[in-house]
């Protein structure tokens, strides 16, 4: 055969195969794992540390939360989000003084087997481990990132932290007690908070507050950051930061799947495994895939079980029906399932209240609020992946606009122009360009600004922008060297207080009140509502606070985002959970074509 004919055939074959392949995505394949239930999910970033007290980033928490345990955790199914016991046997019990809580540990919980323990066998968790872990969390030589969660919360803990700073790494924890941590017996302890503060329990569910074993810390030293020894649902089998992290089932894990959920959860098959011993799968494989395309291709090929849907894939894969509900488009709808969940975020633009122009001119701020069409922005720039906010509190949190009556600014160019005239700048005449600062240099920020700039120009307001790296942005905000900042907040804990504090006068920079808004009535109401239980009384005060925010317009509220996830049909028990990024212990997999377990 002529060699040229051979080459030609090879090229024709390649072209035909390519065309055939491009006809549509192939069916996702089910990996053959020999009967093991192996969950595969991509990591998008490298973790920084697997030492609970040494990490405070989501990539690290994704692993730490699965190999360690916290005293409390968030219920997987209940909404609004609520705390449930983790390592504790029951929720902390408030004592008569109102500031002290009784903590009772679950009995029989053991650390995983590890050579750090005598004979390599993990021992039972006791109160001493809890006290040691809290002290270690407060150690300034170890934790420089997340102590803010507990700052000023437990009596004597700040003082202990100061001692660790003074004495350095040589500090002996046993020689320095913390006033608010009192051991009663092997399983019970009293924790005294600095005041009546129901929010103080939330940090106990955060991964930096995980319980560690003293022997393991002492055995591994700094290497504990790479060698977790916990009581979590999984243990770390392969530690490859830049490759695939592998977690294996901890057969002695104490947790069980929740027995109850919200209405509709049974229909969504979220209660099939109710009451079962966790975890429900054998292994979790977490390959590092930083780019969007290969991650989505691997998901579509069946090599990943769950994946987030980013903006580009959202357009291709998802549509919204007339009722506002989101669905997968064909052919994806035949192959995959999807969930959508409101994130616990609030995005807003904040005015620098010390700025001589925008800070001193309420009508100008209101003009800007009327000029911005948030609904259109969501539709055009975010493809509908967000919901407009009327209060600073995201919708899923109690005390949001779903619980109070509030009318917020809606797009109205005529009113914007009227307010602009009231501000002293009819048709924008005499108004210098408004300076916007962005906390990102990404193209999304630049495109978003162009949209806003156009809307403001329509009513006569000129806008210019500076785009910064995040740290440079924070420095600019703290120095007060800005006019309008594009900002946002992600919930540290699911309580409205975490969002209303963003405008509390005492939280001015370097605190989170970036615009240094100060309003005596707002501050008084904030202090009054801060530790109140949710209910009509608290919500009534929130309503007044929301009105102050609207009338004074120190910020223009925009939206909270929606998160989307797509997953294989073989994966069960999937629901969006904004306080738990990696709820792998609740997931289950159907094995084989028949869908049998």
């Amino acid at each position: 055969m002529d060699w040229r004919a051979g080459v030609a055939r090879w090229f024709v074959g390649l072209a035909l195969a390519t065309i055939a392949g491009c006809a549509g995505p192939g069916e996702p394949r089910t990996p053959d794992d020999g009967g093991l239930k192996i969950l595969r999910i991509a990591r998008r970033n490298e973790h920084k540390s697997l030492d609970p007290a040494g990490q405070f980033d989501s990539a690290s928490a994704q692993i730490v939360a699965n190999v360690y345990d916290t005293l409390l955790e968030y219920d997987y199914l209940k909404r609004p989000y609520q705390l449930v016991p983790g390592l504790l046997e029951r929720m902390p019990e408030k004592q008569e003084d109102g500031v002290t809580y009784l903590f009772t540990l679950r009995r029989g919980v053991r650390f995983i087997d590890d050579e750090a323990f005598t004979n390599g066998v993990g021992r039972e968790v006791g109160v001493d481990d809890v006290i040691y872990s809290i002290k270690r969390f407060a150690d300034a030589n170890i934790n420089v990132k997340s102590y803010i969660l507990m700052q000023g919360v437990i009596a004597g803990l700040d003082e202990f932290r100061q001692k660790t700073r003074t004495l350095g790494r040589a500090i002996d924890y046993d020689a320095h007690d913390v006033e608010g941590l009192r051991r009663l017996d092997e399983y019970r302890m009293l924790v005294q908070f600095t005041g009546e503060n129901p929010l103080a329990l939330y940090p106990l569910a955060a991964s930096p507050m995980s319980i560690v074993a003293r022997e393991a810390v002492e055995f591994y030293g700094d290497a504990i950051a790479q060698h977790p020894v916990g009581t979590g649902p999984f243990l770390l089998r392969t530690n490859d930061r830049r490759g695939t992290m592998v977690l294996a089932k901890n057969p002695n894990y104490h947790g069980r799947y929740p027995r109850q959920g919200e209405s509709g959860d049974a229909d969504r098959r979220l209660l099939v495994d109710a009451g079962k011993q966790l975890p429900l799968i054998d292994e979790v494989h977490l390959p590092l895939i930083e780019e969007s395309q290969p991650a989505m291709l691997r998901f579509r090929k069946g090599e990943l079980d769950l994946h987030t849907v980013d903006r580009d894939n959202f357009i291709k894969m998802v549509h919204r029906d007339e009722g506002g509900r989101f669905h997968l488009k064909s052919p994806y709808s035949e192959q995959f399932l999807m969930f959508a969940e409101e994130a616990l975020t609030c995005e807003y633009i904040a005015f620098n209240m010390n700025d001589p122009l925008v800070g001193q001119n309420r009508a100008l701020r209101q003009a800007i609020a009327y000029a911005l069409d948030v609904d259109a922005f969501i539709e055009v720039m975010l493809n509908g992946r967000a919901e407009r906010l009327a209060t600073i509190v995201p919708h899923p949190i109690a005390g949001s606009e779903r619980d109070i009556a509030i009318e917020y600014y809606t797009y109205d160019p005529a009113k914007a122009k009227a307010k602009l005239a009231e501000a002293g700048f009819p048709e924008g005449v005499g108004l210098p360009p408004i300076q916007f600062d962005f906390r990102s240099t990404a193209k999304e920020a630049r495109q978003g600004f162009e949209y806003v700039r156009h809307e403001l120009a329509m009513v006569g307001i000129k806008a210019v922008a500076r785009f910064h790296t995040f740290s440079a942005y924070l420095q600019r905000i703290e120095s007060g060297n800005f006019q309008v900042g594009n900002s946002g907040w992600f919930a540290d804990y699911p309580d409205a207080e975490n969002f209303y504090q963003l405008l509390y006068g005492k939280n001015r920079p370097p605190g989170p009140n970036m615009g240094a808004f100060s309003h005596p009535e707002y501050d008084r109401l904030y202090e009054e509502t801060r530790f109140m239980p949710n209910g009509p009384e608290r919500f009534a005060l929130f309503e007044r606070m929301a009105m102050i925010v609207r009338d004074e317009a120190p910020v223009v509220l925009r939206f909270n985002r929606l998160d989307f996830g797509i997953y294989q049909k073989r994966l069960r028990n999937v629901t969006g959970h904004m306080m738990n990024d990696a709820p792998y212990k609740f997931f289950n997999l159907d094995l084989g074509e028949s869908g049998q377990e």
Partner: protein, 310 residues
């Protein structure tokens, strides 16, 4: 020659010092504040001070610079701000991976591109030369990223000939590397062949080629024995000076194919403000670049007997 090498090595010391100073000043004055980048919006003044102290950033700049120079001189490069891992460990591990990604296609590329360029030079002025010019100029005009995305989609996802992404250490890495190698060879073909073609054509017009023809030497002998050898000096310059950058891998390739090399480490360090990695890697590459420049000069002497090192 030894005296020449020693003199060149001594000359490279102020160059490396200058690079170190420049890099240090750049990252210390105009770069992102790594402490703020690490702490984010939850920073308190107390935590900022603590972290500055831990990373030695509370020291005066001259002290920090002296410490940096000491680290470079002793190759005890300290730890990553992000992971706390020793930099020497990160670099050693990443460099091996990057080299496994870049060296094979580099060598394959040299052989393939020289062959094609010689072929084009041989058929200069013919339809084959014109076609090759169009094809390779066209291929140069397409972004590297487009090759990656297209090849990954077509050959890995649709045709299922290769894994989409991933990496395993040792020989098991081979299946994951083949597609990236193919892309690197394809991407390098356009610019390399264009340069080589020009170099070869320059040589074909030289007097010694005419003399060889007059002496009755065959076209093959002229091409391989005379033209190729005389063309080696510009080719060596191009290739040997690019060797240090093979250490950095091909960062886009590493990101898209999840290959844990140094290029991806560098990009992540830029994103996260991991200053020790950025500064050390920049200075180490500067050192490697100086050494390979020296190597190029030494190789000149072997490639061209007229070159004397003195």
């Amino acid at each position: 020659m030894i005296a020449y090498i020693a003199r060149r090595l001594l000359q490279s010391i102020p160059i490396v010092f200058g690079v170190a100073l420049l890099v240090f000043l750049l990252f210390s004055t105009v770069g992102e504040d790594p402490v703020r980048a690490a702490l984010g919006s939850h920073a308190t003044q107390e935590s900022i001070d603590d972290l500055r102290q831990r990373w030695g950033l509370d020291q005066p700049l001259p002290v920090q610079f002296a410490d940096f120079l000491r680290q470079i001189a002793t190759l005890d490069l300290g730890e990553s701000y992000n992971s706390g891992e020793r930099l020497t460990k990160i670099f050693r591990r990443g460099a091996m991976v990057s080299l496994s990604l870049t060296v094979p296609p580099f060598i394959i590329g040299i052989l393939v591109n020289i062959s094609i360029a010689l072929l084009i030079a041989y058929f200069r002025g013919s339809w084959f030369d014109h076609l090759a010019t169009v094809v390779f100029v066209g291929s140069m005009s397409v972004s590297y990223l487009v090759y990656i995305i297209t090849f990954q989609y077509v050959f890995a996802f649709q045709l299922d000939w290769f894994p989409i992404s991933g990496y395993e250490r040792g020989p098991a890495s081979l299946p994951y590397l083949v597609l990236p190698w193919i892309i690197i060879v394809v991407v390098s073909a356009g610019p390399d062949i264009r340069v080589l073609r020009t170099v070869f054509l320059e040589e074909t017009r030289a007097d010694y080629v005419r003399t060889a023809h007059a002496k009755g030497a065959s076209e093959r002998v002229i091409l391989f024995r005379h033209i190729l050898r005389n063309a080696m000096i510009p080719i060596l310059t191009q290739w040997v000076t690019s060797v240090p950058f093979l250490l950095l891998g091909a960062f886009l390739m590493e990101r898209f194919f999840s290959i844990p090399g140094l290029g991806d480490t560098l990009i992540n360090a830029i994103h996260t403000g991991d200053r020790p990695i950025l500064m050390s890697l920049t200075v180490l590459i500067a050192i490697a670049y100086s050494l390979f420049n020296l190597l190029t000069d030494v190789l000149y002497a072997y490639a061209d007997p007229r070159v004397k090192l003195s």
